[in-house]
């Protein structure tokens, strides 16, 4: 039986040379993300913005958007966003945060139910008051910052400082580009998005850890190998695994994008993008950083600071 190989054996791709392209490219994307963040902004969901989200399904099977829009004027203050989505007859309504504190938000739902409950089934109703949304913003931010610090501490403990720094830079790169993806697609940014970003943090480090584990091993074995070749060798020898895992993860995420349903689609799309970016950055962003900071480079020799430490894995 002939088995499938997505990466041929013994590749000798000179990955780190690509940094001449990958660094400017990633810099460009990162700057674009910052500009988009400041100009367009994220499409915050009600978790962070507060307000009310209502999903309706027409009982007759056909939604009358114009009539719903008309009725929505009476729900509360501000512009009510009415959209069709999913299958026929499904509508989503977004009512902005009402002035007047926590109690004022419930009024919106009461009005909406009174006006529309006759013709529509209320599939989902979410109301988040100003205080809760403020706290969720805080929680989300703390979560991302804390995870980066915790993982950095772990890497510092398990690896050498340079490897930890290089992988964190790669992870930050992945977070920034994922946020860029949110900005371009305008996928709603909510608590589930924080879950996606934290998972991407985990996946991103997973990818660099696999490469760096190999780098560290090779450092001990080939003490005189120039650092660029050392890194290329690390990436090439783990390339098959990287491609395999990226494929299986992407396959399962594709299943989620195609069949997982409306509510989870945004999450799956972001994760899919994240997996691709993590795979890219492990090879083209984090690894080449070591050329500059990781292993001290002197006269064509990799004098490995890390290599002086006793071997953790038996050769």
């Amino acid at each position: 039986m002939r088995l499938l190989r997505i990466v041929p054996d013994g590749t000798k791709i000179r990955f780190v040379r690509f940094r001449r392209f990958s660094y400017p490219l990633s810099a460009l994307f990162s700057i674009a993300t910052v500009i988009l963040f400041l100009s367009v902004g994220l499409n915050y969901g009600i978790d962070f913005k507060g307000g009310t989200l209502i999903e309706l399904q027409a009982k007759s099977g056909k939604a009358d958007i114009a009539a719903v829009r008309q009725a929505a004027h009476g729900f509360g203050e501000g512009e009510v966003e009415v959209q069709e989505f999913g299958s026929a007859g499904e509508l989503s309504l977004r009512v902005p945060l009402q002035p007047g504190g926590e109690a004022a938000q419930s009024e919106v739902v009461r009005n909406a139910r009174a006006a529309l409950e006759g013709q529509y089934e209320f599939r989902r109703v979410e109301t988040v008051g100003p205080r809760v949304s403020g706290e969720l913003v805080q929680t989300g931010t703390i979560g991302i910052v804390l995870s980066i610090i915790a993982v950095l501490a772990y890497l510092w403990f398990r690896f050498e400082a340079q490897l930890a720094v290089a992988s964190i830079i790669g992870t930050l790169h992945d977070i920034v580009l994922t946020i860029g993806f949110f900005l371009i697609t305008q996928i709603e940014f909510n608590m589930t998005s924080i879950a996606a970003i934290l998972t991407i943090v985990g996946y991103s480090l997973n990818e660099t850890v696999v490469v760096f584990d190999r780098t560290r091993e090779l450092l001990r074995r080939y003490k005189t190998l120039p650092v660029e070749e050392l890194l290329d060798l690390s990436i090439n020898s783990t390339l098959s695994r990287t491609a395999m895992t990226a494929t299986t993860t992407a396959l399962s995420l594709l299943a989620l994008v195609w069949f997982g349903g409306q509510a989870i689609q945004g999450f799956a799309q972001v994760m899919l993008f994240g997996v691709l970016v993590c795979t890219y950055s492990a090879m083209f962003i984090s690894s080449p950083i070591l050329i500059y900071i990781g292993v001290r480079f002197r006269e064509g020799e990799a004098v490995a600071k890390a290599g002086e430490k006793p071997a953790r894995v038996a050769p």
């Binding site: 504190g101 938000q105 739902v109 205080r131 809760v132 879950a195 584990d213 091993e217 993860t249 997982g260």
Partner: protein, 537 residues
């Protein structure tokens, strides 16, 4: 290392069998699971028999998630009013008249008593108002609820202390939970969950509710019932309060400040129909103290209008025809049948100790929940088929081993979630699907390493052994980073997002057993049986 002792093989197989057994109840209907639970003999600890399924989150089974917050400002105002009344009583008892009356501050009251002799009489009594705060954990805290200070020119200030208020909020939350539980239970819902969240919040989760709006109305009502007389012309304005009246279409009517009887003296309330007008009403009964007060007031006030005040609104103000001494009466107020029902529920459950505000609501209809489960199942099956086919196509027999380990891995996640009573949410399903993709990473790491070692010229046994050994450090590191991220998500997230973290954490923990130990065993057994000359991929 490829030799597995029989004991080891048996214990791994046994563990797998247990995993399947404890995951199996998820295939049964909830009723069938209950039947199993009921049939467990009493002498057997119930956890030994697999009968629990994964608990579905509200986003999957439909239901309401409502977070209520104690209105601290309202509570503070009430406490200040109580303090003011207490001070007034003490002034009356000690016959001290403060200069310019009692001044109300946001957090307390102040009064000016220039006369030293008066102050000497007054101060000990005022100091008695300060109660020590006791804490369930550390007992006496040495702190008091009220701070009494004596300033220059006889200025006396009584301030509610911060720890005192915090303590009051804590107790209010505990009381409110009790009241809410009685109210929700009276609505006849199944398995509601009511718990404290943070310092001043209460989380109410009610699955599969037909009318979430009614739930919110019932939860949010303070339900403070009072009987007071409607003020007659000529009553001093200090003793009168204007209140909107339901009867008069929201018009303000004057009501005496003096309260005759309050809702806490009620022992029962039932919805009924008026015999005269046939409109829905609520019949109530007082306890002895309430009946006495009510009887006395109504016998003195025949011909006057008695206002029935609910949450600072006059529900109705009937004219007292005769003295009502039997201790029971009725409330009418142009109710619908449902309103009369709800009012009876509220009166029976008692009033909330403070105003509660809904700060967050998430309601999912049962239709959407069922659709989400359907979509989640489909995505899980498709992802499994994709990954299984891909692994088999790439690694052949070894891929098959990885696939068996993958299936066991998913079964283990379900078994653990069932045992722990963890909640499966929609993001949790996404977590399972994602885990299907990432769980084989360990296998991939091992297999690729085996290939490398074999290509480097090692014999098959030594290549397999080196593959497992060397890949393990990487597997440990890469799963640890994932684990840290998931753990943080678990502690920070709530509801659906936490469900995702739970799945991810369990997935990482079980992957070590399935992808490493189980795969190694299968490969070991295969090697002993087939004695291959080269690795088959």
């Amino acid at each position: 290392m490829l030799r597995f002792s029989t004991a080891k093989v048996v214990s791994i197989l046994l563990l797998t069998l247990l995993g399947f057994l404890f995951a199996a109840p998820n295939l049964l209907s909830p009723d069938a699971r209950k039947a199993i639970e009921a049939s467990i003999p009493a002498w057997l600890p119930s956890w030994i028999v697999p009968h629990k399924g994964v608990v579905l989150g509200l986003d999957l089974q439909g239901g309401s998630h409502v977070v209520l917050e104690v209105d601290v400002n309202d509570l503070t105002r009430t406490q200040v009013n109580i303090l003011r009344d207490d001070v007034r009583r003490i002034l009356r008892e000690t016959r001290v008249a403060p200069q310019g009356g009692i001044g109300v501050m946001p957090r307390g009251v102040q009064l000016r008593v220039p006369n030293q002799a008066d102050r000497d009489k007054l101060m000990p009594k005022l100091r008695e108002l300060a109660q020590p705060i006791t804490n369930a954990v550390i007992g006496q805290t040495g702190l008091a609820t009220i701070d009494v200070t004596e300033g220059a020119d006889g200025l006396v200030q009584l301030t509610l202390t911060e720890p005192g208020l915090v303590d009051r909020v804590r107790r209010a939350v505990a009381q409110a939970i009790e009241v809410l539980r009685r109210r929700v239970d009276a609505m006849g819902t199944t398995e509601p969950s009511i718990q404290r969240q943070g310092a001043d919040r209460i989380l109410v989760q009610v699955p599969g509710l037909q009318d979430p709006q009614r739930l919110k109305e019932i939860l949010g009502k303070t339900a403070k019932l009072q009987f007071r007389f409607v003020a007659e012309p000529g009553t001093s304005s200090a003793d009168v309060e204007m209140m909107p009246s339901r009867d008069a279409g929201g018009q303000q009517i004057p009501v005496e400040r003096r309260v005759i009887v309050e809702g806490e003296d009620l022992v029962d309330a039932q919805p009924a129909f008026s015999q005269q007008t046939n409109e829905p009403i609520v019949n109530f009964r007082f306890n002895v103290r309430g009946a006495q007060r009510f009887g006395q007031a109504t016998s003195e006030g025949v011909g006057r209008r008695l206002a029935i005040v609910l949450d600072n609104e006059v529900v109705s103000a009937p004219v007292v025809q005769t003295a009502i001494t039997g201790g029971s009466g009725q409330i009418s107020g142009r109710f619908t049948v449902q309103q009369a029902n709800d009012l009876a529920v509220l009166l029976r459950a008692g009033a909330l100790p403070a105003k509660l505000t809904v700060v967050e609501e998430r309601t999912v209809g049962p239709g959407l929940g069922a659709d989400s489960i359907q979509a989640g199942k489909l995505a899980t099956y498709v992802a499994t088929i994709f990954v299984v086919l891909f692994m088999f196509a790439t690694y052949g027999l070894f891929g098959l081993f990885a696939n068996i380990a993958l299936i066991v891995h998913v079964v283990f996640i379900f078994a653990l979630m069932s045992i722990l009573g963890a909640t499966l949410t929609l993001p949790g399903i996404a977590g399972i699907v994602l885990t299907i993709g990432t769980a084989v990473d360990s296998n991939v790491l091992i297999y690729e390493r085996i290939r490398e070692e074999a290509h480097a010229g090692r014999s098959i046994v030594s290549a397999i052994e080196a593959g497992f050994e060397r890949a393990f450090a990487t597997i440990f590191d890469s799963n640890s980073t994932m684990f840290i991220a998931a753990l943080i998500l678990f502690f920070l997230g709530s509801g659906p997002v936490r469900g995702f973290a739970v799945v991810f954490i369990l997935g990482i923990l079980t992957t070590v057993i399935t992808a490493v130990t189980m795969t190694r065993m299968m490969i070991g057994l295969w090697y002993r049986w087939a004695r291959p000359k080269s690795i088959p991929f």
